[in-house]
């Protein structure tokens, strides 16, 4: 049974819909009001405040912290400067992805790793022989994501951080309503946004201060449904939806490599060996067999298909993650694992894992659609991700 997060006292009060789901053992809001759309638009037009405390968080500290993380992460974390954050993948010894998350360098010898899955045992196992201490601070540290074009204005009114100096993927310590927090310019929406990390005991103070400062900037609490729509637009993969932690897979086919997930850029091979590096080097030379790609499903064709049933086109109101076959001609060459209508781009989008031979940008494929219990195909086109990439994200 899930337990309340550090912000539960506030979110429960506001969650008029009583729509909750289990996120890593915590009660997490799906949407606060009638539906998620106003919350989605808050992310894109104003700002949304999301409780992300259920993320797993680890403090990695000691003289060998950087060397150790460079050994377990596909990315060379030693190069990360203090006050910077890196998006990372980490793999098993066969180069199969275990999880993705962020690594923040909070001090010369101190890092914070965030993960979607519990990773303490795995980190601890590989830490043997390194002068490093690993602490699971998942419960002790509460976290809020504040995302959207006005998020910076909210924080300017709420904390004393040098926001002009905090670049994309930067991290800084600051004071927020008398409380020490860490602020990172990170998020899962593909928009201008930040994450605020604080002690569990300070959680409500931080929430209240942000809500108060946000009143003048259109800030509203948001749930996971809005986030899911935004993350599809941003083209971000989700562990457990678009790929599976290799440790939990039953077959080799269920596992993925970073290259297959389109996350080859998080792999830095030209250095001493790290977990999975031999296999990843082989894959780099041969190329991946399959690739995670963006799909845009043809709207006029979908409309015409529904028209044949004398129906208006119908789309799920929120992002979906049901798994849909994708074809090239008659042959199934992949599956779409999540997708959403994009209210901002006015496009019907999906993230799909495809046979690499059919995944070139612009390739024409077929996407399965069920209308009135009948299966049909409509054309879809491979397009680049992120689907949505506003300049303000980095500005």
């Amino acid at each position: 049974m899930p337990v309340p997060s550090p912000f539960h006292a506030r979110t429960a009060e506001l969650c008029e819909s009583h729509r909750w789901k289990d996120w890593s053992g915590y009660h997490a809001v799906c949407h606060f009001g009638d539906d998620h759309l106003p919350e989605y638009f808050a992310i894109r037009q104003a700002a949304g405040l999301l409780d992300v405390s259920p993320l797993f968080k680890y403090r990695v500290e000691g003289p060998d912290a950087a060397v150790f993380l460079a050994r377990v992460m596909a990315r060379d974390v030693r190069k990360l400067k203090v006050g910077r954050v890196a998006y990372c993948t980490w793999c098993d010894e066969h180069g199969k992805v275990l999880d993705d998350g962020t690594v923040a360098r909070l001090g010369e010898r101190r890092f914070r790793v965030t993960a979607a899955d519990p990773s303490f045992a795995w980190l601890a196992r590989h830490a043997r022989g390194f002068a490093v201490e690993i602490e699971d601070e998942s419960q002790a540290v509460a976290a809020l994501a504040i995302q959207g074009p006005t998020s910076r204005a909210v924080l300017r009114d709420a904390c004393d951080a040098d926001l002009a100096g905090l670049r994309f993927f930067g991290a800084t310590a600051c004071r927020l309503d008398g409380v020490d927090v860490v602020l990172t310019r990170t998020g899962y929406t593909g928009d201008l946004g930040y994450e605020v990390w604080c002690a569990r005991t300070d959680a409500l103070t931080v929430w209240d201060a942000l809500i108060a400062a946000g009143r003048a900037h259109g800030l509203r609490p948001i749930g996971l449904d809005a986030l899911d729509m935004a993350r599809v637009e941003a083209g971000f993969v989700l562990n457990g939806v678009d790929y599976w932690n290799a440790q939990q897979c039953l077959t080799e086919a269920q596992k993925s490599t970073p290259l297959e997930l389109g996350l080859g850029w998080t792999v830095q091979l030209d250095r001493e060996p790290f977990l999975g590096s031999a296999a990843l080097r082989r894959e780099r030379d041969l190329g991946p067999r399959r690739v995670l790609a963006g799909l845009e499903i043809d709207w006029p064709a979908l409309e015409a298909l529904y028209e044949r049933f004398d129906l208006p086109p119908s789309l799920p109101l929120s992002a979906w993650r049901s798994g849909v076959p994708v074809y090239a001609g008659r042959r199934q060459i992949g599956r779409a694992t999540s997708g959403s209508w994009s209210p901002t781009l006015k496009r019907n989008l999906a993230l799909a894992t495809l046979d690499a031979r059919h995944a070139a940008e612009g390739a024409r494929l077929d996407f399965e659609v069920t209308v009135e219990y009948e299966r049909h195909n409509v054309p879809a086109r491979v397009v680049a991700t992120p689907f949505f990439d506003p300049a303000r994200k980095r500005s």
Binding site: G33, D34, D35, L37, P38, F41, R44, Q45, A46, P149, T150, A153, D157, R215, A216, H217, G218, W299, P300, P312, P313, S314, L315, W341, P343, T344, L345, K346, R347
Partner: protein, 529 residues
């Protein structure tokens, strides 16, 4: 030898820009001429008080055709539409009604007034979706013309007729009723409570010099129902950055396709030679040559203004003289220091995030029309209000708000002895603010800046003849193959090489873009431009 354009578009409103974008996409050399210093026509955003951006005239969007958004890739050119989820109606007795996207919530709200109506509302919604689906292909194609002698047209008209008959007797009857009835009578067939009927009937008079009890207003109601956002009919939205952002996105698409857009370039007259239109003469005296000229201005301004009555065939001129462009509405834009507080539903709740309609009773809206009929503006007008800054903080400074109030009625012709609009403008603005203050008493203390637009201003500043926001009323006798005049509903005009693409052509007004796109298609098909 001066440069010759393939096409010159007169008027950089949204339809002119759509037309230009489609022509340019087809490889034509296109020049858009806009008189004002910015594009958009009546779809403009202007910062008239520091930090406050008004959607000066047109303020919501729904009818903009999804295929135009897609084909011109308007999202890439910056168009973002934010749906309005709620319609809020405060009443003088301290009660209020809010209709939401959530069906159960709406049912509970309506049931406070009528349990029966609460259950009828979803059925009504389904019927309106059906009618909208029926109308959709009609507004997305040139008007089928049963008056035409061209066999292809007649074939189209016959197909159109078959579609009508294919509706089945029940729907056919409803559809015909919809075209002929008054908004109130039409809604009375469904509902009993006035609190639902009066505000809903308001959609039937927008931009129309008729009362909610006047025959024909049910169609105008439909016109406001057939818009869609993301596949949902009857959804209305705001453009991020104000309505001007729509025009800017279309202008972006037009420029990307190679069109040139000149602002501050008002057209004085058409260049005519041997009865043929060969270009335009700018107010600066500059002459421009083009193989085709397409006017996005309203029909009166195009033909009586730019072409000159003497150049028009008599019958056409006579028909055009009868074309009704009666301004009926005004606009008040307010910059507010804080959100207004409604007595009937206090606080800054989500009810303020949609549109707010002030139409307390059927009689009160009809009385508002009565005053206008005799040449006086309504002292307690019908109001449709939005506060865009709640969903789009970019249009106001932090914590402050902009409030857009559509006001009906404001007759273009004030009664003899009733003064002139420039003299009575502020009095009209006061009537609007006083009306709002009856429901939100603190509003007067919140106003930092006020812009009042009367039909006279709409004509003077935005070129809308008599201040008619639709370039001509959406009454049955001026729709489809009758718009703007019988025989000339296909964007072509009696003057060779002159075309029209504004809201005065099929399928009519509102930020739809269809007239502009369909006109461009017609021109390209004829090999003109």
């Amino acid at each position: 030898m001066a440069r010759t354009w393939d096409a010159i578009v007169i008027g950089g409103g949204h339809n002119g820009l759509v037309c230009a974008a489609y022509l340019a996409k087809a490889g034509r050399k296109v020049l858009v001429l806009e008189k004002r210093p910015l594009v958009g026509g009546a779809a403009v955003s202007e910062e008239l008080h520091p930090g406050f951006t008004y959607s000066v005239c047109s303020y919501v969007v729904s009818l903009l055709r999804p295929w135009i958004i897609r084909e011109l890739d308007l999202a890439r050119h910056g168009l973002e539409i934010l749906p309005l989820d709620c319609t809020f109606n405060p009443f003088p007795d301290g009660r209020s009604l809010a209709r939401w996207g959530d069906a159960a919530r709406t049912r509970r709200e309506v049931a406070q007034f009528s349990a029966r109506d609460a259950e009828m509302l979803p059925q009504f919604g389904r019927q309106m979706v059906e009618i909208s689906r029926f109308v959709k292909p009609i507004i997305d194609a040139p008007a089928a013309d049963p008056l035409s002698r061209n066999p292809a047209d007649l074939f189209g008209a016959a197909a159109f007729g078959r579609r009508f008959v294919g509706l089945g007797p029940d729907m056919l009857a409803r559809k015909i009723k919809m075209l002929t009835m008054s908004a109130v009578d039409f809604l009375h067939e469904w509902f009993e409570c006035e609190q639902l009927i009066a505000p809903m009937a308001g959609s039937g008079i927008i931009g129309t010099f008729l009362g909610i009890r006047s025959p024909g207003t049910a169609y105008v109601l439909l016109h406001h129902y057939m818009g869609e956002i993301d596949g949902h009919f009857r959804s209305w939205g705001l453009a991020r950055g104000g309505t001007g952002a729509i025009s800017n996105a279309i202008a972006g698409a037009a420029r990307a396709a190679g069109a040139e857009i000149r602002t501050g370039a008002g057209v004085a007259e058409l260049r005519m030679h041997g009865g043929e239109v060969q270009g335009v003469v700018l107010e600066s005296g500059e002459e421009l040559h083009a193989r085709a000229v397409v006017s996005a201005l309203d029909p009166h301004r195009t033909f009586f203004g730019l072409a000159g009555r003497e150049n028009l065939p008599d019958e056409f001129a006579a028909d055009l003289g009868r074309y009704k462009l009666r301004g009926s509405s005004g606009k008040v834009n307010l910059a507010l220091d804080a959100l207004p507080d409604f007595v009937s539903r206090p606080g800054a709740g989500p009810h303020l995030m949609g549109d707010i309609t002030i139409a307390p009773t059927i009689d009160s809206v009809e009385r508002a029309y009565d005053q206008a009929k005799y040449g006086e503006f309504s002292h307690e007008p019908f109001l449709n209000i939005v506060i865009p800054s709640l969903t789009d903080p970019s249009v106001a400074p932090p914590g402050k708000h902009v409030m857009s109030c559509f006001v009906q009625y404001a007759p273009y012709h004030l009664a003899a002895g009733a003064g002139t609009w420039p003299l009575r403008r502020e009095e009209f603005g006061d009537a609007v603010v006083d009306t709002i203050a009856r429901y939100a008493p603190g509003i007067k203390d919140l106003i930092l800046h006020r812009q009042v637009l009367t039909p006279w201003d709409l004509e003077k500043d935005f070129g809308l003849t008599e201040g008619n926001i639709f370039h001509g009323e959406l009454s049955l006798e001026q729709l489809a193959f009758l718009r703007p005049v019988p025989g000339w509903a296909r964007y072509k005009t009696p003057l060779p090489r002159l075309w029209m693409c504004g809201s005065g052509t099929h399928p009519g007004g509102g930020i739809m873009g269809a007239p502009g796109a369909l006109a461009a298609r017609a021109m390209l098909r004829e090999g003109r431009a």
